[in-house]
């Protein structure tokens, strides 16, 4: 249900946009996020839930720094 994955916005067309997930292109409603072409967004059930602030590799390598911040 709450499966959601990050992809790259490659086209914008009003409320709708095309998002690329490693070569898989999906029509997505982007009206709830502020994005431009090239942004990464988290997509769930056909709409962009959030802008992704950093890619997965970066996210994981920063995870330990984030941990240190909160501990």
């Amino acid at each position: 249900m709450c499966v959601a994955v990050p992809g790259k916005v490659i086209e914008l067309n009003g409320k709708m946009g095309k998002v690329d997930f490693n070569g898989n292109i999906v029509e997505v409603n982007v009206s709830l996020v502020d994005v431009e072409v090239g942004s990464y967004v988290l997509v769930h059930a056909g709409y962009a839930v959030e802008v992704v602030k950093r890619e997965l590799a970066e996210e994981l390598s920063n995870l330990f720094a984030d941990l240190e911040d909160v501990l």
Partner: protein
């Protein structure tokens, strides 16, 4: 700075007081099981699963309603695939379909608009279940239906808010020491929603992403908070989750939906824990009364309620793997891809 290997050895060797953590989200349960995370933890760290699978917390009466629409010649039910095999009091949507009922699987609520346009002679009932992650998609659909003047789709809702359920759990299940907060729901609601709970119940909440590393780090963080007597809300999914969440999404939820009391399977009715379509859009809603439910005959002996509230693990249910399997589920927890029993069954057999 601590690294993954250090965290892994810490968690495996941990010999402090027994700790019980709840991962609220079904997708977290799935990562935990798929990555074999339990095999990486000391037996003093116990993970239990929470009410974070929308299918699992849905009442059987709701399924009955959907089944009736499927079997009626006048309606076609649109549903996420996960909901199809959840047993109602009489049958599941999948059985209704096998009996000739009309049920179509959708992957996004927004597909409903397209279907409605292409089949103006049909009436569609959208089985709308989900938490705050999914509810904006229904709101966007309603936006679309109104804009395009589409009138042959109605929503049959069983929409839930995760906050009130966690409140109930903190109140009633005091032996849970900390929560792995659901990453995706929190991206909408914002991490701040847990602060009030953390303080009220003195329990730590850590928001985590969905990679195995995220989970390990979150567990480590919770263990450390508990060890140090802290009960803070930590956000360890910074790439997605912010403190205030997605305000536009919360706004559109508020435009079309209002909080209402809601029935949770295994828990009961919780005030202000659900969302229904607002009165001014009632043309798009199908009314169903909120009622306490008996365990249905169809799911006699099912302990889903206890699984959902972290009281037991699936294999403690005597039906697990015997009367109840994904092919022939007794309770919704065995059906859904995010249902704890189903996840356990496919990984541990």
């Amino acid at each position: 700075m601590i690294n993954l290997e250090e965290i892994k050895s810490f968690l495996l060797d941990y010999s402090g007081p027994e700790i019980k953590l709840m991962e609220v989200c079904g997708t977290h349960t799935s990562t935990i099981v798929k990555s074999g995370i339990r095999s990486l933890l000391s037996k003093n760290i116990k993970l239990v699963s929470g009410p974070g699978c929308p299918v699992c917390v849905t009442g059987s009466r709701y399924i009955d309603e959907a089944v009736n629409f499927a079997l009626s010649k006048d309606y076609t039910v649109l549903s996420f695939g996960d909901l199809l095999r959840v047993p109602g009091n009489e049958m599941s949507l999948s059985e209704a379909k096998a009996l000739g009922g009309s049920v179509e699987i959708i992957y996004s609520p927004m597909e409903a608009a397209e279907k409605a346009i292409n089949n103006p002679e049909k009436n569609f009932v959208l089985a709308a279940v989900g938490f705050e992650t999914t509810i904006p998609a229904y709101a966007l659909l309603l936006d679309n239906l109104i804009e395009l003047k589409i009138s042959n789709v109605k929503l049959l809702t069983s929409l839930k808010s995760i906050g009130p359920a966690l409140d109930w759990l903190c109140e009633n299940e005091s032996d849970i020491d900390g929560f792995i907060a659901p990453g995706h729901v929190t991206s909408v609601t914002g991490a701040s929603v847990y602060r009030h709970l953390a303080e009220k119940y003195r329990k730590p909440f850590t928001v985590a992403g969905f990679e195995a590393e995220h989970i390990l780090v979150a567990i480590y963080d919770l263990v450390m908070q508990i060890a140090n007597g802290r009960y803070e809300v930590h956000n360890l999914y910074k790439s997605i989750v912010s403190d205030k969440g997605n305000e536009k999404a919360m706004e559109i939820i508020g435009k079309y939906f209002e909080l209402s009391s809601s029935y949770w399977r295994g828990i009961g009715i919780i005030d202000c824990s659900g969302y229904t379509v607002r009165e001014n859009y009632r043309h798009y809603r199908i009314e169903i009364p909120v009622r306490e439910e008996e365990i249905s005959n169809k799911s006699k002996g099912c302990r889903c309620g206890e699984v959902i509230t972290g009281k037991i693990e699936p294999y403690e249910c005597t039906l697990f793997g015997k009367g109840c399997t994904p092919a022939n589920p007794v309770g919704p927890c065995m059906v859904s891809q995010e249902g704890t029993c189903g996840i356990y069954y496919s990984m541990y057999g």
